[in-house]
Amino acid sequence: MRNTLAIARRELHAYFSSPIAYIMVGLFALLFGWMFYSFLSFFSEQSLRMSQFGMAGPQALNVNEMLIRPLLLQAGIIILIFVPTLTMRTFAEEKRSGTIELLLTSPLTDWEIVLGKFLGAVGLYAVMLLLSSLNLVWLFVYGDPELAPVVTGFVGLLLLGAGFIAIGLFLSNLTRNQIVAGLLTYAALLMLLLVSWVGESAGPVGKAIVSALSVFQHFEDFSKGVVDTQHVIYYLSVITFGLFLTARSVDADRWRG
């Protein structure tokens, strides 16, 4: 555990000693904020219109349904753009510069290295989410939304992103060129997004395959305030599978030399 944390700490150090972390965190907060305020203005327009028709009070539009849910769904899609930049460096750069030789000759297990890098990236990603969630504080100051769907929505975003990160780590270990690693990850995540769109018109067998692959579908319930163990298990399996592939590929590199 101590070893894993040492690696995670170095990863965070690397993120924050280059402009990458600040750009990513800032850009995501900006995008999230922009989406938030455009949903918000649309929402207030709608509620204003409805109140003009005398439907105020209990019939008022639901903030969670009309604002927070679509916002989180959209955020789930834009993290697809952010994750590759978080993970592309992780292994590719260590291989290019030769520092992987330090890690692999230190008394560490492959899992400690892989988990450390995973936790580092997830740590930065959590900071991204946390900062963006500050936007929603306004809603609680001026309105009365339900807290549960907001919290579960962010838990869902965290799991979704962590799954993406696990995939990105694996792809970063396939090359010593971080740009290639980033593009590979971007392509892989884009495919997962397309699969969930295509899946809607597939047959029963197709649907089953698609549902296993469609990381986005499993996210929807979280934004409704429901934490279904089935979905949690789904994301935990994606993460485990990604990390397992990464650890295997670290070991395979040894034999390749």
Binding site: R2, N3, A6, I7, R9, R10, H13, A14, S17, S18, S97, G98, T99, I100, E101, L102, L103, L104, T105, S106, P107, L108, T109, R254, W255, G257
Partner: protein
């Protein structure tokens, strides 16, 4: 302290290391000498647990690299060919990180970092980013990370390559000063380097060990017997007697016989060039001299490659 048995490493069909065996006793400095591409780096990578061998075994401080890699790695410090530095970290942060992953107890980490920075003369660079260090300082920080956990065994891959003459002298002094506490294996492709630093030398070429001895013995062995091959049209005379009579010649042996032509292998005393006297003696005695060439043992050929250093002679000997 180090036992290497029949190590073989193949990259696909290519054999980079071929049945290499050697032992290193506690406290010894072993030089691993060989031209570029000989398999030095590959051997060291196996020895440090970076990659497994295709065949063979390596044990360090009593632990087999394949059976107990973690235990073995705890006892090894490794400086790869390029120091494994993170350019975005300061020297102190970097060494603290290495101390953590090498298993230095949390309470000792800061103290160890300070100690090794002083030992390798980088104490004034603690706040400098690794990416902004000169080549010489990179190498020293590389050495500092190798000794941070006070390992029993130090493996140094070409620790002086690419340094300027002054830095080479400093690095060698540093390595010699580490010898008391650690068993050291260092590789080099420069012959004079080993005689300066090492107590024993393993010479490797094309993946095989070709010689193993003390630097002094090896040098003596090589300078000792220079030999010359002569082919003579020896009809009607005893060329062997003429050759044996030349001053400086120690032995004469018939190497081959082709019709009227006889080939002799003529050995001379150390450091004596007998080619001119052989030629004039044979011609003077009326024999037809068909061929005359120095004979080189393969070891000597390897040595010739090794002595061609990219460092001026006086520095190499310093």
């Amino acid at each position: 302290m180090i036992e290497v048995q029949q190590l073989t490493k193949r990259y696909g069909p290519f054999t980079a290391v071929d049945g290499v065996s050697f032992n290193v006793a506690k406290g010894e400095i072993l030089g691993f000498l060989g031209p570029n591409g000989a398999g030095k780096t590959t051997t060291m990578r196996i020895l440090t647990g970076y990659m497994p061998p295709t065949e063979g075994r390596a044990r360090v401080a009593g632990f087999d690299l394949q059976d107990s890699p973690i235990e073995a790695k705890r006892r090894i410090g490794y400086l790869p060919e390029t120091p494994p530095l993170y350019p975005d970290m300061t020297v102190r942060d970097y060494l603290l990180f290495v101390a953590r992953i090498k298993g230095v107890p949390p309470g000792d980490q800061a103290g160890r970092v300070q100690t090794v920075m002083e030992r390798t003369h980088v104490a004034d660079m603690g706040r400098r980013h690794c990416g902004k260090l000169s080549k010489g300082y990179r190498q020293r920080v590389g050495l500092a990370q190798a000794i941070i956990h006070n390992p029993d065994v130090l493996v140094l891959d070409e620790p002086t390559a690419g340094l300027d003459p002054k830095q080479i002298i400093e690095t060698r002094q540093l390595i010699r000063s580490l010898a008391g506490d650690h068993t050291i294996v260092l590789s080099t492709h420069i012959l004079p380097e080993v005689s300066q630093t090492c107590q024993r030398v393993v010479i490797i070429n094309k993946g095989r060990v070709v010689a193993e001895d003390t630097p002094d013995n090896l040098t003596a062995r090589l300078q000792g017997a220079a030999s010359v091959y002569v082919q003579v049209d020896a009809q009607g005379g005893d060329a062997q007697a003429v050759l044996a009579g030349i001053p400086g010649v120690t032995t004469v042996a018939v190497a081959e016989q082709q019709g009227p032509l006889t080939g002799y292998e003529v050995q001379s005393e150390a450091g004596r060039d007998i080619r001119r006297s052989v030629a004039s003696a044979l011609v003077g005695a009326g024999f037809g001299l068909v061929e005359l060439r120095p004979m080189r043992m393969s070891l000597e050929e390897i040595f010739l490659q090794l002595t061609t250093s990219d460092v001026p002679e006086e520095v190499a000997r310093a």
